[in-house]
Amino acid sequence: MQNIINILDKNGLIFAFLVVGVIMYLSFLVGKKVTNNKIPAAAIAISFGLFIAYFGKGEKGIAAIPAFSGMALLGGSMLRDFSIVSTAMGASFSEIKKAGLAGVISIVLGIVIAFFVGGVIAYFMGFTDAISLTTIGAGACTFIVGPVTGAAVGASSEVIAISIAIGVIKSVFVTIATPIIANKIQLNNPHTAMIYGGMLSTTSGVSAGLAATDMKLVPYGALTATFSTGMGCLLCPSILYYIVQQFI
């Protein structure tokens, strides 16, 4: 037994690949069998991650257990930001032109509104420092923008965890709500789908929500949602953080 633990300790990153791979597989299974693909597997997997973090200790979550220390490297800021940047391959300026002015407005507005609504609520619920408010506001954009912003402005692990949770709940909420209210918001054409993606920013929620509404609309929403996520990573830790600092 001790031998096995020694090997896992020494090969932390590799073991982390295995652990995350198993989590992803189980999440896809749960997503398919239990929720009938209604909840995005990504949201289930991230919830799973937050859940096992609970069994770790303090600031580092599961990585506090030596065998799982590689999780901190795989999920550290370097690899995280690197892989997030790569998702920009799903976006292109020549494509975004098709969304027109309303599309561009939705991309910026989706971030700014989620950020400030999130920040104001957090303020009234007892968070008073600019760093936490910015991180929580960013979490209201997506579960990517939250931790990217939190790491950039130096938020605590606890606040980053809350921002991830906000993003995950948003993703699930968007997925469930979209087919229900699609008719009311006239979400039945590419143009509205692009605005919808820009306003809601969460690529996983938008893709799953559109898939449940009309499969043909998925690429339109996913495109602007990807842009919106990038816009969030750009605006939240910079201009929006600056504005929050002026108020606090």
Binding site: A53, L79, A114, I169, K170, H191
Partner: protein, 120 residues
Amino acid sequence: MKIYGVAILAACYLVGQFIGDWFGRVFEMSGNLGGVGFAMILLILLNDYLNKKKLLVPETEQGILFWSSMYIPVIVAMSATQNVKAALTGGWVALIVAITATSVCFLLIPLIAKINRIKN
């Protein structure tokens, strides 16, 4: 070769970090201001440019796409290494922030769609 794609991605990432860090110092704020966002814009521009010139071969592209398929697993690993125990006290904040902020954004969708239609 796939490594070309990874190298392009690495270049965008590092330049983005550099710009974000530079902005942080110019505005005298702690941290990296939007480095990830700048890097994403760079990658989008470079991707558009290389595609137009037909310089981006699928093999190179694969090197970047591999990392974009790794981002959810990386976020899962990140989630598993947060201070969730302490964050549980903020569980209600998470729920209320997520539902309210998302609902406001939902409500604005038909309005914005309308603005554009009038313009056209």
